[in-house]
Each structure stands twice: as C-alpha cells, then as structure tokens.
Symmetry: C2
Subunit: 259 residues, 2 copies
C-alpha cells in the first residue's frame, strides 16, 4: 500500500508539519487530553513494534486508551498522520558531521547512520518517496547532506543528484535487511531456516539448474550455505557486505568525478 499525502487541505497539512509549541488558546468545549505530538509518538511506537501492517488508527487509539476515531479530532486522516510520523522520526538523524577528515569520511559515517536509522524504523521504507513531505526534518536531512557534499567542490546541481543517489542506495540496500529482520516475527520462520528449506526444494524442482544458471552456480559453490547458528544471520551478513562495498564504489565514483 503506497500512500500519498492527502491534499484536501494543503494549508492544514503544512501547518501541522511546521507546528510550533501549541499556543495555550482558550476555547469552549472539553479540554483536549491529547496532542498531535502524543498521537504521533504513539503511532511511531506502534509502527516500530508492529510494522506498517500493524499500524491502524484503532491500534494507535488503543495505545492511548481511546478509540481509533478519537484521533480524527487531531489529525485529518491516516495519510497525514503518516506524514507527521515520517517527519518526526527523521529528527533522530544527526545534523552535525565532522568534516575535518574530509567529505568521504563524513559521508561514510552519514550513510551508516542512515542505515541504522532504517533498521530502527523499518516502516519508514514503506513511506512513499514520490513527493517530499516538505517537513522541517526532511529539510534538515537534505541540508545536512548538502553541507557534507559541498566539501567536494562539485556544482550544486550535481550535489542534489548525489544526495538522491546516496539516499536511494542506502534505502535499497537496507530494505533487504529491514524486511528480513521483521519477517521472523511475521512468519515464525527465521531467514536462514527459510533459505535452507527453499534452496533444497529448488534443486528438486529445477533439476537443470546448474546448466541453466552456470554463473549463479559458480557463485554459490564458492560460499556453500550452511545452517549453523551464527550471531548474524547469513542473509544479513551478505547485505551488510553489499552495503559497505556499494558505498565504497559510490564514493570512489564521486572521487572520479572530481578529477
């Protein structure tokens, strides 16, 4: 389910995203027991523990001792709530990076921070990137990256593209780990167990496998997969190596653009 920002009342959306400290205005009616922030925090907690599929208005309401409908007093709809969650959770990301060791070192640290961020909040990977939410923390992220990459001396237009490349790369790389981490609780089978049974079945059902996919066979023969209980699951280890190697490749590529 990809969700787009509701644009029914763009002004209200932006006001919510950029809301300051709530003014203590006096109004008729019962005192609101909740705030937008409380609701957003609860929603993030639900999404962190139950995943995007477990995020429902009812679930968030119950977390706060309310019905799901109670949230609609504070937030126009679920899509807007998602935008608010997304922007708020982005605030976790550091905005200061030491550039004394150069842009390459800083970018590496940033990429690992961003990677770790997605592992803490895997549901963020499901938030549509089609249109920027235009919230304050999203701009902080962009500004931070620009500040790091500005040190390359490349023209601004190129910087923007590099930001897109790097964020896209990290998202793509972390997706494999983030989803597979959530999978065991979702299906009751660990990644490695799953892989083990499936690959055994594969040879059974596709008997011409080795002739049909010689290079894949070569690759797998090099690192025969076994089901021993390692601390880090096999697939996750693979993904981390892909991340680090890919990052090095991209950084090498940026350096190549400088010369």
């Amino acid at each position: 389910m990809v969700v787009y920002a509701g644009q029914g009342d763009a002004r209200r959306s932006m006001a919510l995203l950029w809301r300051g400290a709530q003014a203590g205005d006096v109004r008729p009616g019962p005192k609101p027991a909740l705030t937008v922030d409380i609701i957003v925090d609860a929603a993030i907690a639900v999404a962190d523990s139950a995943g995007m599929s477990g995020l429902s208005m009812r679930a968030v309401g119950e977390q706060l001792g309310r019905t799901g409908m109670a949230l609609y007093t504070y937030v126009p709809n679920k899509n807007e709530l998602l935008d608010l969650m997304y922007d708020k959770v982005l605030a976790e990301l550091p905005t200061e990076y030491d550039l004394d060791d150069g842009w390459r070192a800083a970018t590496t640290v940033w990429a690992r921070d961003y990677w770790a961020f997605y592992l803490r909040h895997p549901w963020v990977l499901q938030v549509s990137q089609a249109r920027p939410v235009l919230g304050p923390n999203e701009y902080d992220l962009l500004e931070t990256m620009l500040r790091i990459l500005f040190a390359t001396g490349l023209p601004p237009k190129m910087l923007k593209r590099l930001v897109g490349t790097l964020t896209g790369f990290v998202r793509g790389a972390v997706q494999i780990v983030a989803e597979s981490r959530h999978a065991p609780t979702a299906t009751g089978v660990t990644d490695d167990e799953w892989w083990y049974t499936r690959s055994a079945l594969l040879m059974e059902v596709a008997q011409d496998f080795h002739e049909r996919f010689p290079l894949v066979t070569l690759l797998e023969s090099e690192q025969a997969f076994q089901l021993d209980d390692e601390t880090v699951p096999y697939l996750e280890q693979e993904a981390i190596e892909t991340f680090e190697a890919g990052l090095a490749v991209i950084l090498d590529g940026i350096e190549a653009q400088l010369g």
Copy 2:
C-alpha cells in the same frame, strides 16, 4: 503493506513457480476454465492499471468473470499470487546483452532497461525484497547481471555485491518517478501542481526557511521552479538526471575498483 511469501507449503510454492506446461492429466470434476497463468496475467493487468492498492482477489476475479474466491482453487493465497506475478513479470527483462563494447556499455543499457521495467510495473517496487522468491526469472535476472559484470574480471564475491548495489540503486532511483506517475490518477492533482501549491505554502508557514536551510535555498535559487506545461514533468526530469548521474558515479566507482 509488506508481504512475505507464505511458507505453509513450500513445496507447492516452488512447484507453482517452476511449473512447466501443464500436463493434460485426466481428473474427475469439471474441467478448470482457468489456469494459473491466466490468473497471474489478469492480476498483473490489475496491478499495472490500479496499482498495488487496487490489487484485490475480488478485482482479479472480476477481471476474469469470476468471484474472488474462485482463484483459491488455483493459488493458495494472495501472497503466493504476488510471488507468481513478480516472477512472471520479470520475464520481460532482456537476458542477452552485447558485451562487444565492454561491461560498462552493457551495464548502462541494462540499468535503463531495468528502470523502464519498473516504470511499466510500479507495483513491483512494493514487493518485498527481503527474501528472494527463487523463481526461474529471478535467477535469469541474476545470471544476466553476473554475465555482464563477469567481464570486469572482479572476483565472484564482489560481483554479487555489485549486483545488489546496482539493483538497489535502480530501485531507489526509480521509486520517485514510479510512484509520482501513479499519483495523479490517485489524487487528481499532477505532480507539478502539487509542488507549486506546496512550496508556496512552505514559505508562508516557515518564514525563517532561508536562514535555516541556506544550502537548500542556494540550490533552489539556481533552478527556480515554474509551472509551465512541459512534456516531461519537473520532478520526473530531476529523477532521470539523478538516475543517469548516479549510474555514471557507480560505474566510475567500479572502474576505480579495477585499478
């Protein structure tokens, strides 16, 4: 909504994925009017036109003049159907790339093909990459990439990581375009219109924007956004440039690893 492969009956899953021409075995009961392939094709058609959120068992059934429940005779559940859709649609990707002009040229063509593929089938971006589906066409994709990158002469272990980096990069880059293309039909507002109204509101609601985000401001001042009717929307143009620039960076990086 991230969906994991049902693992209730792994053997049946694999048999479905690697199903050959259906044997004309004689069995009691009415002749099945449908086939797994017909259902998978219909489901792909639904997903292509209505997106992942429009893909329901009922919708696919109706496309075939049946109820949603009729599909359960052929396919165990929606997750399995999704796996079948995913593997089948991958068959569209070319498997032969000319290596006469070297791995770099071939990789570039491959990346553009892969990009275009996601634009034809944006819903594929929502299919979980946590665990490979292990279908024949997924292996064809992997084998094809390995064949191209084998020409670099890099060790096999590195090749696998490069495959992950490149596929992840394309996925990440295309996501922005793929989702925004679908968005107009979903919300009734084009991307450019949306951006125009939103950025106007932004300056209204965040008046310290320029002081707070100086580099973002610098970037935006360079390429002032205007709402004229171009053939290619602004955001999409941006994404394409990011894709091409990012690809060049990655390829430069691979070349750097060779030396």
